[in-house]
């Protein structure tokens, strides 16, 4: 980047327009490829998730094929939604957002396109391996590590494209979303490569495994989702974030505190007490960045909540941001020894994970896509009704799911701690809550299917051609 190419953060309007158009043009193909793939993985992952949940009610269902056993179906669900849906859509979001924020076209878009194909190849081979029974047997790291080399290459290509774009920036400052994206691009390869090293065994492997599993959420999914929220809340409202400096406090506090999280999943395990205590401390310290972000988002929204009626982007992103606060504070409490003693090894953790990946990250992603896709395909979403159904089904689904599993997990934990009760009590008492979990899962699958169908319609440019978004032509969102 030459010094002459850098100007103040407010360029002349004609320059700003030309650069924004060039940025959008450069990202169109790779971003769409990431988003198309992500939506396909969302539907596939959701179907596998519901099948896994229903197996608790119908344990003899789909037992004829080893590939359809609970252990494989549930694992495919996790990998498809975490890396296929969330991973690919978050990277697509970064690809689309960064050139706009640094006012420079995407560097070598073909690298990003190749990265998207590589990422899909990794998932197809990886999920196929899991269904065939070949896995590394580690939570969040089930895809065999020889296949993981594909995503390492794809991620490298992606990083070259994004970092190359940032290196050619024409802005004086980094917007906070750029900080989050850059950090995720550095952090994720480090933790992924470390966790996949085939040098750990036994309890060491468990420690590294959970350090990775928790940080895949905290150092990859969380920063990229927050980058989206920091971009779209001010943009849709038409007012800057309330305190830009507070947003930087949030970012740097996350950078300093998050990476030691994860070992608290092994409280009670045969690990050094100081290591677990360090992780618990780091988890509690996360209250700082979470509070900074929550206060900033809330004070930006104060007096403008009426806008939620009109903007699907804002509605999804704000709901996701509120859930971010809730799930993060829940996580800090969950890491405390006294609380963890009860909920460890229970359904409570499953509910917490879904509140994070679906309630927080996915809702924000849906909101981002409602904004981005019409700009990429030059066609408005055809139906405000489908958007409304999508929102309420997704929200109701995840809340039913999380509340039922939280209650089930607590009761299950108390039953397991009661030495006078048979172990099977802790299993059978969860039955009604597991039915509620399947109901919540069904609603989320319905929401995701509606979204995928609507996505198909808009990218195929179906429906009436509109000059303005559908939701402003009708009665507006409820």
């Amino acid at each position: 980047m030459s010094a002459a190419a850098v100007y103040l953060d407010s360029p002349p309007p004609e320059v700003a327009i030309a650069e924004r158009v060039a940025a959008d043009e450069s990202t169109r193909r790779p971003a769409l490829l990431f988003f198309h793939s992500a939506v396909v993985w969302l539907v596939i992952g959701s179907v596998f998730g519901l099948v896994a949940s229903l197996k608790f009610q119908f344990p003899d269902w789909l037992t004829g094929e080893a590939a359809l056993a609970f252990g494989r179906v549930r694992t495919v669900h996790l990998n498809a939604v975490a890396y296929g849906w969330a991973g690919m859509s978050l990277v697509g979001l970064a690809v689309w957002m960064i050139p706009r924020l640094v006012r420079a076209p995407l560097y070598r878009p073909r690298l990003a396109v190749a990265a998207a194909w590589g990422w899909n190849l990794w998932l197809v081979l990886g999920l196929g391996a899991i269904l065939a029974g070949w896995t590394d047997g580690l939570e969040w790291l089930e895809i065999p590590y020889p296949i993981d080399t594909i995503v390492v290459v794809a991620g490298g290509l992606m990083a070259v494209s994004v970092l190359g774009t940032v290196a050619r920036r024409k802005t004086k400052h980094f917007y906070v979303s750029v900080w989050y994206v850059l950090a995720a691009m550095v952090w994720f390869p480090i933790i992924f490569a470390t966790a996949n090293l085939p040098i750990f065994g036994g309890v060491e492997q468990a420690a590294v495994n959970w350090w990775y599993g928790h940080n895949a959420l905290g150092l990859f999914i969380t920063p990229l989702a927050l980058a989206g929220a920091y971009y779209f809340i001010p943009k849709v409202l038409g007012r800057p974030i309330q305190s830009y400096y507070l947003s930087l406090v949030g970012f740097w506090a996350l950078a300093f505190f998050y990476s030691l999280n994860g070992i608290h999943h092994l409280i009670g395990g045969p690990l050094p007490a100081w290591l677990i205590t360090t992780s618990i401390t780091a988890s509690v310290m996360m209250v700082i960045p979470v509070a900074a972000t929550a206060v900033n988002f809330h004070t930006t929204m104060v007096g403008r909540f009426a806008a939620l009626k009109h903007s699907p982007t804002l509605r999804f992103v704000v709901a996701g941001s509120m859930i971010y606060t809730a799930v993060s504070l829940q996580g800090s409490v969950e890491a405390l020894r006294g609380f963890n003693r009860v909920v460890h090894f229970t359904q409570y953790t499953v509910g917490h994970a879904h509140l994070g990946v679906y309630g927080f990250a996915s809702l924000i992603l849906f909101g981002c896509l409602y904004f981005i896709i019409p700009r990429l395909v030059a066609w408005e979403w055809p139906s405000d009704r489908l958007i409304r159904w999508h929102f309420w089904l997704a929200l109701a689904g995840v809340l039913i799911y999380v509340v039922s599993l939280s209650i089930a997990g607590w009761l299950q934990g108390e039953a397991m701690l009661d030495a006078g009760r048979p172990f099977m009590d802790s299993v059978s008492l969860t039955k009604p809550y597991l039915i509620a979990r399947s109901v919540g899962g069904t609603l989320m699958l319905a929401a995701n299917t509606i979204f995928a169908w609507h996505y198909w319609l808009v990218v195929r440019r179906r429906g009436k051609e509109r000059l303005e978004p559908a939701w402003s032509a009708g009665e507006g969102l409820a």
């Binding site: 103040l8 953060d9 407010s10 309007p13 700003a16 327009i17 924004r20 706009r100 924020l101 802005t171 004086k172 400052h173 980094f174 917007y175 906070v176 952090w187 480090i190 470390t194 750990f200 309890v203 060491e204 492997q205 468990a206 420690a207 590294v208 350090w211 971009y231 001010p234 943009k235 849709v236 409202l237 038409g238 800057p240 974030i241 830009y244 400096y245 930087l248 740097w252 950078a255 300093f256 990476s259 030691l260 070992i263 690990l271 050094p272 290591l275 007096g303 403008r304 009426a306 806008a307 009626k309 009109h310 903007s311 804002l314 700009r375 303005e468 978004p469 939701w471 402003s472 507006g476």
Partner: protein, 56 residues
């Protein structure tokens, strides 16, 4: 000492060093000087396309 603990602390330590270097680099580059200007970077001509009613 458990060797996994050593690996994790080493990786996190390296990460902390990288974060500190990044922070100092950003400070020296003036990233935090007049940083509130950066809050306006999200706005562009595309905002004119906002749907009626989206902006309160």
């Amino acid at each position: 000492m458990n060797s996994a603990a050593v690996y994790i602390i080493a990786i996190c330590g390296a990460g902390a060093v990288i974060a500190c270097v990044a922070f100092v680099w950003a400070a020296l580059k003036g990233e935090f000087t007049d940083a509130s200007e950066a809050a306006l970077l999200v706005f562009d001509d595309d905002d004119a396309r906002r749907a009626p009613g989206e902006k309160p």
